[in-house]
């Protein structure tokens, strides 16, 4: 018992506790990323696997590394990649904004509900997770399709005479993605709003702030960490969302995830698929890491000076 205890409580214990997540990330994130990066610079060949080596030996026995950057130049020569990427960013941005607009009032209301009601309301938010994601998306198809719930109802009440085209549109993609990602926005928002000291709002009101002013000057700035966390949790996976655009979106409006899928499985062009995937990670990761780093530096500055 004693050696284990001293191991955990000692400097080595701390190293292990901190090291394990790093090891996890290195094994399951960094390593696959490096493999993908390597494939992105490999030549495309006919074979199994359909990639050639990047390492070789020259005739005089020197190690030769061949980086096939033509995989990357495709990305910029063919506008369809750029368009798909732009469409993914736009869709993710719209989803994030919609989740924020819908999630903020919900989170606010739950945070202000009586302490007895809050767990119940939170369970209602999380409840859809108990059903398979795929089934929920199929349920939306049942609602949105030409002879689906909405169209049948509108036709039956004679509000419309032709079914509305909702399936296979960007509208359906935005709708279902907002639905699917809403809890990821709502929960961090709830956490920050629930922690908000209500006496601050009383102080704002006492000092002459009408409710809307108090919200804008106190509640909103103080819930910024929740807004940032929620937006990241929605935006990042939304950019790479594959299932929803594939099932309810229009085939003519390809998003970046299905481009990778097609390159990989239909064209069997692993290097281009890898280059696209790597580019998405780099274009997404770098700005977001910069943002997070800036925030942390700000927090650290505040803590250090107090």
């Amino acid at each position: 018992m004693r050696p284990l205890l001293s191991l955990v409580s000692g400097a080595w214990g701390r190293r292990i506790v901190i090291g394990l997540p790093f090891l996890w990330l290195a094994l399951f994130f960094l390593l696959p990323f490096l493999v993908t990066l390597k494939i992105a610079f490999s030549p495309s060949i006919n074979g199994i696997p359909p990639i050639g080596p990047i390492l070789g030996l020259t005739d005089d026995g020197a190690l030769r590394i061949t980086l096939h950057i033509e995989n990357w130049s495709y990305l910029f020569q063919d506008p369809s990649y750029v368009i798909a990427y732009g469409r993914s960013l736009l869709t993710a941005a719209i989803t994030t904004v919609l989740c924020l607009v819908i999630g903020y009032p919900m989170a606010y209301r739950i945070a202000r509900a009586s302490p007895r009601m809050r767990p119940l309301l939170l369970i209602l938010v999380i409840m859809p997770f108990w059903t398979s994601f795929l089934i929920r998306v199929y349920a939306w198809i049942g609602i949105l399709k030409d002879n689906g719930l909405i169209n049948n109802f509108l036709l039956w009440t004679r509000i419309i005479h032709q079914p509305l085209q909702m399936m296979n549109t960007q509208f359906a993609v935005h709708l279902v993605m907002t639905y699917a990602y809403l809890p990821f926005m709502l929960l961090p928002l709830y956490t920050t709003l629930e922690k908000l000291d209500l006496s601050l709002l009383e102080a704002a009101s006492d000092l002459g702030g009408r409710p809307i002013i108090s919200f804008l000057t106190v509640t909103l700035p103080l819930s910024l960490p929740g807004i940032v966390a929620g937006s990241l949790l929605v935006f990042i996976p939304a950019v790479g969302e594959f299932i929803i655009p594939t099932l309810v979106g229009s085939p003519g409006h390809q998003m970046i995830a299905s481009v990778v899928f097609d390159e990989f499985f239909s064209n069997r062009d692993w290097p281009t698929a890898s280059a696209v995937a790597t580019a998405v990670v780099l274009l997404l990761l770098v700005p977001i890491l910069a943002l997070v780093w800036l925030r942390q530096r700000n927090d650290a500055k505040l803590i250090a000076s107090s």
Binding site: L200, E202, A204, D206, L207, G208, I213, L302, S305, S306
Partner: protein
């Protein structure tokens, strides 16, 4: 109770806040019951009581955070009963200070002025003034997290007075400070109050704080006001057992009146096992049961009798407080009396010891008749 609503609001302090028949119910719980109270302009008024006595609810109704269930509240000539907080000529200093953590000290203080739409140079000037008033010049650029507890309290004060409210409400203003800083701050708050001439209404559970600072005190219990008066009135002539007991230590003596003679009366007190003489204060009937409050410091402790009333006993416990010593004296009847003696000369704290036989004496004027 027997006070009149305008008690103490005199020529020096003309009426400023009038509370008429105010009650507050939360569901089935009544936090404040039918309170009538007038607070004078420029007073430093203390609402004093234990937790749950309704003092904070009353303060919150003055601020506008709680709506009275019945009754009216007037500030000056205005009926503010149902005005929202942001339309009242009142500012509050919160117990937790409630400083905006994301704003600098200067932005915190400027918050209320911005809401009035004042021009920027005017706001900057008044923020500087307020910072100077609370002796925090030069700290306007700091965030609240970078300040000490005492400094935060000053920012809260500056933020609350910068709008020049008619009334400043203070919710347990000193509760988060340590004892030394608290005493210092009491004097400073009083000085600032005199300087600004604002009516202060302060909520506190600390009777010493209320006594030291307030022009008048309302002692509250169970949502009611038990007594309103100057600190001296409340201490020297408590009207009820609750008030006598809440404000300082007190020995309670009960008995039947056996003799009246002018302003003085005598009663047989079973707890002391003898007859004592006391200042009646009003006409008493023979045979009437009365209760007397006897403050510990009004009793003389020594070897010889020195007053009209005296009893013998034995020191059962003593506590040395530096400036004074507190004795518990056991009488032959089994009654314990508490006695406080100032330690006037060096070594006087050690002349008496546990187990010593002593005589306790007090004059007829040392006791106060309590209404029961």
């Amino acid at each position: 109770m027997q006070f009149t609503p305008t008690d103490g609001a005199n020529a020096l302090h003309p009426p400023h806040i009038r509370i008429e028949g105010v009650s507050k119910r939360f569901g089935g719980f009544t936090a404040v019951r039918d309170i009538d109270l007038t607070i004078g302009r420029g007073e430093l008024f203390a609402l004093l009581g234990g937790s749950g006595c309704g003092k904070t609810t009353l303060l919150r109704m003055l601020a506008g955070f709680a709506d009275p269930s019945t009754g009216r509240i007037h500030i000056g000539d205005r009926d503010v009963t149902h005005l929202p907080p942001y339309e009242r000529p009142v500012n509050m200093m919160f117990q937790s200070y409630a400083l905006f953590p994301h704003m600098t000290v200067a932005a915190n203080i400027a918050f209320g002025l911005k809401r009035e739409g004042l021009p920027k140079p005017e706001i900057a000037r008044r923020v500087e003034e307020a910072l100077a008033l609370v002796k925090l010049d030069g700290l306007g650029g700091r965030k609240p997290a970078q300040l000490s507890g005492g400094q935060r309290q000053r920012v809260a004060l500056a933020r609350a007075v910068v709008k020049r409210p008619e009334v400043l409400l203070l919710d347990e203003p000193m509760s988060a400070l340590d004892k030394k800083l608290r005493e210092h701050t009491q004097f400073e708050l009083m000085a600032i109050q005199r300087q600004l001439g604002i009516t202060f209404v302060m909520v506190t559970h600390d009777q010493e704080e209320a006594m030291a600072m307030a022009t008048r005190i309302a002692v509250m219990d169970g949502g009611r006001i038990m007594q309103v008066g100057s600190p001296r009135d409340i201490y020297e002539t408590p009207r009820s057992l609750f008030v006598a007991d809440f404000i300082g230590s007190v020995n309670m003596l009960e008995g039947q009146v056996v003799e009246t003679q002018g302003a003085e009366a005598a009663m047989d007190c079973p707890a002391l096992g003898r007859r004592i003489v006391f200042a009646a204060g009003r006409n008493l009937a023979l045979g009437e049961t009365v209760a007397l409050a006897l403050r510990p410091e009004r009793i003389t402790i020594g070897q010889a009798a020195s007053g009209a009333n005296h009893v013998h006993g034995q020191i059962q416990a003593l506590a040395y407080h530096g400036g004074a010593s507190v004795f518990r004296v056991l009488l032959p009847t089994g009654t314990l009396l508490q006695v406080t003696r100032p330690n006037l000369v060096e070594g006087s704290g050690s002349t008496l010891a546990i187990g010593d036989a002593v005589t306790l004496s007090w004059s007829p004027q040392a006791t106060t008749v309590i209404e029961t």
